[in-house]
């Protein structure tokens, strides 16, 4: 009996121990008031509970406590939020400025994140995207066939040609639609499922099948009226009927949705009449390297391992087939991460990630410093309120939490405003069309990740700008704060106070931001290419691609001849020509390589006997190009009809080419060896330079004869040193297989003539089935070409100005606070005979010191930042980081504005009435 009594006592004792421990978790204020009573009530009733309910009673006693503890915390939080909202509502000016600064800062950080996220995102709807790797450079189909046998590396592989334009006829309209020519394993390797119907199967790899096509959801919705019974119906593609066998899922736009978004997929086995890219046994030729190769790595196979193995295979193939570059040193194959919307090399990804985040982070830092500063100033005003609460028993932690709740409220409020701003900005950015002939699309719409990021950043900033002021505000000397108005501090005025450090950071960060954005913005502005050497006025462009309208090569040739004849006779048209490349464009600047000059024998590459290797821009232009574009021929002649014959070898070179290659001697009549080289310079990586035909022409050099010298044309996006250019004649054979921008009809009209309309009418009169596209004037073409850079320079300008304004507001706040704080001291000084000027100088001195110190620190960081940026952006390499406009202008601008921001509140100090001060004393 006694034993059970002991056991019961022990149970009761343990229960009470747990109870006391749990009761400690109540908020402090609750504990202070009710803690003891609560525990005593439990002590008094525990025996009765045990006797009446047994173990279940004990459990309920503890459960009651466990439920009430979080409830009390929530109640306290609710109270804090209500109180915080009341306090914020009481100073609407502060709240508004803080909300605006923060929401701008957060939205820009969120934009930076979305942009990064949009570029580095995984392919939507593709399982295990991390396993996908792509070859950086396209391969030939036979090479692909060799790679796909590497079963130890890949579970499956596919190859595709992209981008491929298709003329899709829907009723009377022909729509130029971008798509891919794919191996049947394309969809299966990606792991995507159809929305309707099926994707390709292995049977479709055999040639001679009836042409079939898969369309994107987008295409199905926009052009096929979301017809649920579309499977099995035919549409005309490039003039030939194709059966639709499947519709992709909504999010799927192909294996490379950023660079080559696809709405149409055809198997590579399709007849060459449907896809001119496949002309001439393209699947058998080793020299036609136009296939993007993607593989899904076997689990356990590393990217590096696969790359090494692929390189070995590529090297063996080069040796076996005696390819011209068989002795090339170094790796032949680099792998990209194909599971991303923008395939990048592993080592390039950090750049995209970090640059944007650094800019966004800088802005956010400035905004935070700004608000923290205002909070500090406010905390000064609230010293009395805080002291009272401390005096009546609130703990410091409790008050800090209260103040942090206020800053969190601001941050969350700002985030709520920031996310729509970010959505809108990113929508604008996504709309921006790149000046490329191919469908580069950036889907940068912020997704849930960006939303989470926005609120995460908001929470962080809430703590970042709230914690320091809260800590300082609650470190109050109760006696002095309560005794008096709360603003007189007898402590020595510290120069390096937290507030000043914050302003210093802010100044430095804004200067860094201003200089970096100024560097980019000014750099872009000042280097925007000036188009010279031709006459862009009254020049009109309209593109045609009759092969995609179902024409044969011969018919296309006849069509163009007829069209050109008719257009030339139109009244108001002074000149017209057909051309492949245009002056001013990203594309068409593929390079050619000279491997011998002046008829000297072409030294073998391994013999080391190269006399001279130089590269030039390649232009392919029709007869009358120079006349139509207004490019002067300085020596020799322009192209004539005889130059278009097969086997003809006439070329025209630019002045700069003469200067570089012939050292100024007259080249007319000389011969030159030209081979197709890789595209020159940084543009090599640009998708606009993609030309499936380049590799098809010849890897070996051919001899050409210079017939004329044309004036230099500056046509770059950015001003740069002149490039040599070589013009090749456009052969009628090229009409059947033009580049991705089609064949362009360029016409010069007299002013005021609707040249585009006239030309359209003529085209329709010859054959209404021909669908012209990309009709625009030369000035529109140039504007579009420049738009991306203009946009970028505006963005940078906006960010720089935003930082500038924030920094000024911050400094004004600090000075105002300092004036208010030292009002007493200033009053006494003035009573003792100080002049207004002296007082102003006294107040301004502090501001000026901060500005000076901030400028120095900012300059140092900015210099480092610019160096980092300029190494990454070749576009603005022509602006030096020591540009005087930047180096002197930016700090002067900031310092000037900062001093004004400082002066406005400082002037208030001169209005302090010494008499009033003395009366207070």
């Amino acid at each position: 009996m006694n034993g059970t009594g002991d056991a019961a006592n022990r149970r009761v004792a343990i229960t009470l121990r747990i109870y006391r421990a749990l009761a400690h978790a109540f908020p402090q204020e609750f504990r202070n008031v009710y803690g003891d009573e609560l525990v005593q009530a439990a002590e008094d009733s525990v025996d009765a509970v045990w006797q009446r309910h047994g173990m279940s009673g004990i459990v309920r006693l503890l459960a009651d406590l466990a439920i009430q503890v979080p409830a009390e915390h929530l109640a306290e939080l609710r109270h804090d939020i209500r109180y915080g909202l009341r306090m914020l509502a009481r100073s609407p000016g502060f709240t508004a400025v803080a909300l605006i600064s923060l929401s701008l800062g957060i939205s820009i950080a969120a934009c930076a994140y979305s942009e990064m996220n949009g570029l580095l995102r995984d392919l939507p709807g593709v399982p295990k995207p991390g396993e996908l790797v792509a070859l950086q450079t396209p391969s030939s189909y036979p090479a692909y066939k060799r790679y796909r046998e590497l079963n130890e590396l890949f579970t499956s592989t596919f190859a595709y040609i992209a981008p491929v334009p298709f003329g899709v006829s829907l009723g009377k309209q022909t729509e130029r639609t971008w798509g891919h020519l794919v191996t049947p394993s394309y969809f299966a390797t990606l792991g995507v499922r159809p929305w309707l119907g099926r994707f390709f199967d292995a049977a479709e790899e055999r040639p001679g099948q009836a042409p079939v096509a898969v369309v994107s959801y987008r295409f199905w919705e926009e052009h096929l009226g979301s017809d649920p019974s579309i499977i099995g119906k035919t549409i005309r593609i490039n003039g030939y009927p194709c059966t639709i066998v499947g519709v992709g899922r909504k999010e799927f736009l192909g294996a490379s949705p950023t660079l080559f978004a696809a709405d149409l997929w055809l198997p590579v086995s399709v007849d060459a009449r449907v896809a001119p890219e496949l002309e001439g046994d393209a699947l058998e030729r080793r020299d036609l390297t136009m296939f993007q190769v993607v593989g899904r790595l076997r689990p356990g196979v590393t990217e590096a391992g696969a790359q090494a193995e692929l390189n070995a295979v590529a090297q063996r193939m080069a040796e076996t087939y005696g390819e011209p570059d068989r002795n090339q040193k170094g790796p032949r194959i680099a792998l990209l991460r194909a599971g991303k919307v923008l395939p990048l090399r592993k080592q390039d990804a950090p750049f995209y990630r970090e640059f944007l985040l650094v800019l966004g982070g800088l802005l956010l830092t400035i905004a935070c410093a700004n608000v923290a500063n205002m909070m500090l100033a406010r905390a000064g005003d609230r010293r009395k309120e805080i002291a009272v609460r401390l005096a009546i028993g609130a703990s410091r932690a409790r008050l800090i939490r209260q103040l942090l709740t206020e800053s969190m409220l601001l941050a969350v409020g700002a985030a709520i405003a920031a996310f729509p701003i970010c959505l809108w900005l990113m929508h604008l950015l996504s709309q921006l069309r790149m000046p490329l002939p191919i469908p580069v699309t950036f889907d940068l719409t912020p997704d849930w990740r960006a939303l989470v990021f926005t609120f995460g950043v908001a929470a962080l900033t809430g703590v970042a700008f709230g914690l320091a002021p809260a800590l300082q505000a609650t470190r109050t000397d109760l006696v002095s704060a309560l005794k008096e108005g709360g603003n007189v501090r007898l402590r020595k005025h510290r120069w390096l106070s937290l507030r000043n450090v914050l302003v210093l950071c802010q100044m430095a960060a804004s200067l860094m931001l201003l200089m970096m954005t100024g560097y980019m913005g000014l750099g872009i502005q000042s280097t925007l290419g000036v188009q010279q050497g031709f006459d862009p006025r009254n020049l009109y462009l309209i593109s045609l691609d009759p092969v995609r309208d179902g024409y044969s090569a011969a018919r296309a040739e006849r069509f163009f001849e007829k069209l050109l004849e008719r257009v030339k006779t139109l009244p108001g048209i002074t000149a017209a020509c057909l051309t492949d490349t245009l002056p001013v464009s990203f594309d068409g600047n593929a390079g050619v390589r000279f491997s011998g000059v002046g008829g000297q024998p072409n030294a073998s590459p391994d013999g080391g006997g190269f006399l001279h290797v130089s590269e030039a821009r390649k232009h392919i232009v029709g007869q009358g190009y120079f006349e139509t574009a207004g490019i002067r021929i300085l020596a020799g002649r322009a192209f004539e009809r005889q130059d278009e014959k097969n086997g003809a070898m006439a070329i025209v070179v630019s002045q700069e080419a003469v200067r570089q290659i012939w050292k100024g001697e007259d080249p007319v009549g000389r011969r030159i060896e030209i081979g197709n080289g890789e595209a020159t310079g940084g543009w090599g990586a640009w998708p606009g330079t993609i030309d499936h035909r380049v590799s098809g022409v010849a890897k070996e050099s051919r001899t050409f004869e210079v017939v004329g010298v044309a004036r230099d044309v500056s046509e770059d996006l950015v001003a740069s040193k002149k490039h040599p250019a070589v013009y090749f004649p456009l052969h009628p054979a090229d009409y059947a297989q033009p580049s991705l921008r089609g064949v362009t009809l360029m016409v010069r009209a007299t002013a005021g003539v609707d040249a585009i309309g006239e030309v359209r009418r003529q085209i329709a009169a010859i054959d209404s089935a021909i669908a012209p596209f990309n009709a625009r004037s030369m000035s529109e073409h140039i504007a579009q070409y420049m738009s991306a850079l203009q946009g970028a320079s505006w963005t940078y300008g906006f960010m720089g100005v935003f930082g500038l304004v924030l920094a000024s507001v911050g400094l004004a706040g600090v000075t105002a606070y300092s004036v208010a704080k030292r009002g007493h001291e200033i009053g006494i000084r003035m009573a003792l005979g100080a002049q207004k000027r002296d007082v102003l100088a006294l107040v301004m001195k502090e501001g000026a010191m901060l500005v000076a110190a901030g400028t120095v620190i900012g300059l140092m960081f900015a210099w480092a930042g610019i160096r980092a940026v300029s190494s990454a952006f070749f576009t603005v390499a022509s602006v030096k980081s020591s540009d005087p406009v930047l180096l002197v202008g930016a700090p002067l601008l900031l310092a000037g504005l900062a001093l004004v921001a400082c002066y406005v509140p400082a002037r208030r100090s001169t209005r302090i009435d010494p008499a009033a001060t003395l009366r207070m004393e």
Binding site: A23, F30, V33, Y34, D36, E37, L38, Q40, A41, A42, D44, S45, R52, R60, L61, D64, L65, I67, Q68, V69, A71, E72, A75
Partner: protein, 122 residues
Amino acid sequence: MKKPPSPENFLPLKPNWFHVLLSLAEKEQHGYGIMQEVLERTDGKVRLWPATLYGTLKRLIEEGLIEESGDRPAAELDDARRRYYRLTRLGRKVLAAESQRLEDLVRLIRAKRGLAKREAES
């Protein structure tokens, strides 16, 4: 100054609140006393567990329905740790209003039951 809230705003009263107010209707009491009284009054059916009780007391004070009493019992009966609570005017009004509401409800139920009985008899 804010207008004092109308008693109607609190209706219907949460059962815990009602029991606490009822316990304080006649005399001031401390928390444990309230707990005991409720237990006795309901024959052990309603037990206000300590944490719930004190949470309720805190909320009732915040809402202005009860207040701490300055009066203490005779020294030999007093426990220094214990606080005594009493109804405020508002609290009394709220209690009255809730009682009225419950009475009306009971009347309603009785009338309905009477009707049903008569129907069964007829």
